[in-house]
């Protein structure tokens, strides 16, 4: 069971009892966020983050899933800082899914930093206060006369010192303080926050130790492959189960009835075998016929046709209308009209979806790479007819998330198959399964009309957004907020939305909404800037000089954004750099996930239309403190390259099915195409916010605007098409 412990080593529900009972002399710091006080027992009902062993080794729980955003390192850093311990003495462990103990556990929305910045520093400070109280009682001195050095409580007056390890048992008996009563460190005293600290799993990663969901092994474990219909939610019409059962190593093959909910258990055929290779060979032998399905007539071409009709009909629901767009357009010195399109995209996490499940003693125990464990537990309970308390979810490290693992379809599949198989089962999807059964970034169509006056100021902005949905319900992640920039920054602004039905599942992809909206909005601003004869940076600063009404795009602060626009332009040498033929710079900004990002891209476009992004300058304002600069830069650089990568690929639909299946048809950017990246932070006096997503959206329009500067050709449709960008 060594591997099991390596992968899910945390204070999971099943292990907590061991820790609570066996941790003699160890402090398990436990209290509710309401500040109700500590208890040595009944831990299951309290929050538990910190354990200090007599030898001074501090074990800190990381509550959220690790998907490569570095949270398993950065959240414990917050606790360790205020607890006042040496990072070298800290061990971090992954929590199990336990919302009672840890509250909401998820990886999404770049929310972990803003949600936990105060909270987890308070957790650390509470632990420090309990250790100080224990020492004060021991020595008969006032609490106020004590201070700490890393791992040690100090009474300066008497020169007495006690290590945390020596105080741990007595500290455990102290009442946890009211969190609001705790005084947190001044930033100038930080020893851990702000330091470049490598990820806690780095050593295991570089030596290939088991960490990921796909690395799970259980005694007696079998392997499963699961075939689903290429048309989403189509059912099994016929199948040759005996063909699969004839493959050496195959133990069982069976039909799973499934349902019609696209994010639930879909119909299919499971093959369970002694090895995954055998299971997949069995699956290939099945010769499945699928039932007809109403969405099998859908196609990318069909969506485009419907979008054209919806645009021509000029209908749609008006989500926002400020001023009088039509009158302002009529009075404009110049007007621009443009159609924009962006395609469906796949998440393509490099670790394909997988999950290990074991049904035993009436309980379903699951090991899953998931960004959202609790809804997965609920889905499994509901689908299998189990009480939620009989479903246990352990979180493994995820080989990428990007929003894909917010959905738990693979978890419910593994659970169903494991119960049917009567053995522990590891379900592993093929890359083809993964790419053809994703929850895609929705495609979208925007018809823009805009105007500028004689001075080049934008007079009017109208966006007819054609997206997917039925009735009042927009398809998941396919909506657009009526507060999206430049709403509230223009007197005459209109946003209309039309929808068409979709049989393809959609979902959030890193910086959902923003990853597409930034492209169209920041491109059209560029078009208006050129129409008005205004420099693109100047045009943006003019827009941002108008103070938005309160609540504009989730509280976008125009001053902070103008600050990063100026800095990015300055660092890139905007307007001062001598560029060659077919070389150009473009700028864009976007506010998302509470982060302010402006980016300048420099591109060179070859005669045959190949785009090379040479360099990207980034200016970012994510508040006053970068928690871990090493991780922060990595997230930004990765986001920027991810955004560029998204400009080259697309998912298309034909006969209701996804046409792409692997990296040969859905390319991801490779090392030769990675640009040089230069990042600059503005440390504004605001609370720190997350970095998993907000660097991505601006790079797409920064690149397309640079392509315009280099070639005079406006990219209004993605993916990039070299033939349209070729010289001549």
């Amino acid at each position: 069971m060594g591997i099991v412990q390596n992968i899910t080593e945390g204070f999971s529900p099943s292990r907590r009892a061991v820790l609570a009972g066996g941790g003699a002399g160890g402090l398990i710091l436990a209290f509710s966020f309401a500040g109700k006080g500590a208890a040595a027992d009944g831990l299951a009902k309290l929050n538990a983050y910190v354990q200090i062993a007599p030898d001074g080794i501090v074990t800190i729980v990381s509550k959220n899933p690790e998907i490569g955003q570095g949270i398993k390192t950065s959240l414990p850093m917050l606790i360790a800082e205020e607890l006042d311990v040496d990072w070298a003495n800290v061990r971090t462990v992954q929590a199990g899914n336990d919302p009672v103990a840890y509250g909401r556990q998820f990886a999404g929305g770049s929310m972990a930093t803003p949600l936990h910045w105060d909270q987890l520093r308070q957790v650390g400070a509470a632990g420090r206060a309990m250790l100080i109280s224990a020492a004060a009682a021991d020595w008969g001195v006032e609490v106020a006369s004590l201070t700490t050095e890393p791992g040690v409580v100090v009474h300066a007056a008497s020169r007495r010192r006690a290590t945390y390890g020596a105080l741990t048992a007595k500290a455990a008996a102290q009442t946890a303080p009211e969190l609001s009563s705790l005084k947190l460190k001044d930033a100038s005293a930080y020893r851990i926050i702000g330091q470049p600290i490598p990820q806690v799993d780095t050593a295991a990663i570089v030596t290939g130790q088991p960490l990921f969901g796909i690395d799970m092994r259980l005694p007696g474990m079998l392997y499963a492959a699961y075939a689903k219909a290429p048309v989403f939610a189509a059912k099994v019409a016929s199948v040759d189960l005996s063909a699969a059962q004839g493959v050496k190593g195959v133990r069982k093959a069976f039909v799973v009835e499934g349902g019609t909910e696209l994010d639930g258990l879909l119909p299919g055929v499971a093959v369970v075998a002694d090895s995954w290779w055998a299971a997949n060979k069995g699956r290939q032998a099945l010769n499945i016929q699928w039932t007809d399905h109403p969405t099998s007539s859908q196609s990318t071409e069909g969506y485009a046709g419907q979008a054209r009709s919806l645009k021509a009909a000029k209908g749609g629901k008006t989500l926002r209308s400020d001023g009088d767009v039509e009158a302002a357009l009529a009075a404009s010195a110049k007007t621009v009209e443009a159609d924009y399109f962006y395609p469906f995209l796949s998440h393509a996490t490099l670790e394909p979806q997988n999950c290990t499940a074991h049904f035993h003693d009436g309980k379903m125990e699951i090991w899953a790479p998931t960004q959202l464990p609790e809804p997965g537990r609920q889905l499994v309970a509901k689908t299998l007819g189990l009480a939620p308390e009989n479903v246990i979810v352990h979180m493994t490290r995820c080989g990428g998330g990007f929003g894909r693992r917010l959905m738990n379809d693979y978890m419910v599949e593994a659970a169903w198959i494991a119960r049917e198989a009567g053995a522990p089962v590891k379900l592993v999807w093929t890359r083809e399964d993964d790419m053809r059964h994703d929850f895609y970034r929705p495609a979208g169509f925007h018809h823009f009309r805009g105007g500028v006056d004689a001075s080049g100021n934008i007079t009017a902005w109208a966006d007819h957004f054609v997206t997917f949905g039925e009735g009042e319900a927009t398809a998941r992640s396919a909506g657009m907020a009526p507060t999206e920039f430049p709403a509230q920054f223009l007197d005459n602004y209109k946003l209309d939305v039309s929808m068409m039905p979709l049989g393809v599942p959609t979902g959030p992809l890193r910086a959902p909404g923003s990853n597409a909206i930034a492209f169209v909005v920041q491109s059209f601003i560029d078009e208006l800037a050129h129409a008005g004869g205004v420099d693109p940076v100047e045009m943006r600063l003019r827009l941002l000089s108008k103070t938005a009404a309160a609540g504009g795009q989730g509280g976008l602060n125009a001053e902070r954004m103008a600050g990063v626009v100026r800095l990015a332009a300055e660092k890139a040498g905007w307007g001062k750099t001598t560029l060659g033929p077919r070389q150009g710079q473009g700028i864009a900004f976007h506010y998302s996930h509470l982060g302010y990002f402006a980016e300048v891209a420099q591109v060179a476009v070859t005669e045959d239309g190949t785009v090379k992004v040479e360099k990207v300058w980034i200016a970012a304002d994510v508040g006053r403190q970068i928690i871990n600069p090493l991780g922060a830069l990595n997230q930004i650089e990765g986001s920027v390259i991810d955004g560029i990568s998204e400009m080259y690929g697309q998912i298309t639909i034909k006969d209701g099915q996804v046409e792409q299946a692997n990296f040969d048809t859905f390319p991801l950017l490779r090392i030769p195409d990675a640009p040089v990246i230069e990042t600059h932070f503005i440390k504004s006096d605001n609370p720190p916010t997350g970095l998993g997503e907000p660097a991505l959206p601006p790079v797409v329009p920064a690149v397309t605007n640079a392509i315009f500067a280099a070639t005079g050709k406006r990219v209004r449709s993605l993916p990039l098409n070299a033939s349209e960008l070729a010289a001549g």
């Binding site: 490569g68 470049p196 570089v206 055998a278 996490t349 490099l350 990428g400 692997n662």
Partner: protein, 153 residues
């Protein structure tokens, strides 16, 4: 049938079908799960291992094709002088984000530096283009290879 293998300097036996890819023999039969499954068609490089020092994609290499070749996986990389140096550079620069592709990246980088101790940027591009990093840690991968080669400024 039973295949006699030399993996990371140890003699191992795997009783599998001849068409079973080395990747699944390593992962499922031998329990060496450091080598990763990414695409199954030699497009992503997550399964990169060495056969007699040369990088190969284990996902498309059937076990029957291995013969007497000495296989080195990420679990055995530390025993290689260059491999240990590459792992150290990877750790110091904290290259990984999710980390899933990194065993393959490290095996490709180790093969590169063994063949070519002072690679140019173009050499790095050529040797590493077969390894996808979905988190796009390419800036650091390039820097780590240079550090391992003793080239950093």
């Amino acid at each position: 049938m039973a295949y006699q293998l030399n993996v990371n300097g140890k003699a191992m036996t795997a009783d599998v079908d001849p068409d079973t890819p080395l990747l699944w023999v390593l992962r499922d039969t031998l329990g060496l799960v450091g080598t990763k499954f990414g695409c199954g068609i030699a497009q992503c490089g997550a399964c990169t291992v060495h056969a007699d020092g040369a990088p190969i994609r284990a996902c498309m290499t059937p076990i029957e094709a291995i013969g007497d070749a000495k296989i080195t996986t990420i679990e055995g990389a530390s025993a290689l002088e260059v491999g240990a140096r590459v792992q150290k550079a990877w750790s110091e620069l904290d290259v990984a984000q999710c980390g899933y592709c990194q065993p393959g990246q490290i095996m490709s980088a180790t093969a590169l530096l063994t063949q070519n101790p002072s690679p140019t940027d173009d050499d790095i591009d050529a040797a590493m283009a077969g390894n996808i990093c979905r988190c796009a840690t390419y800036v650091r991968i390039r820097a780590a290879i240079k550090r391992a080669a003793g080239q950093e400024a």
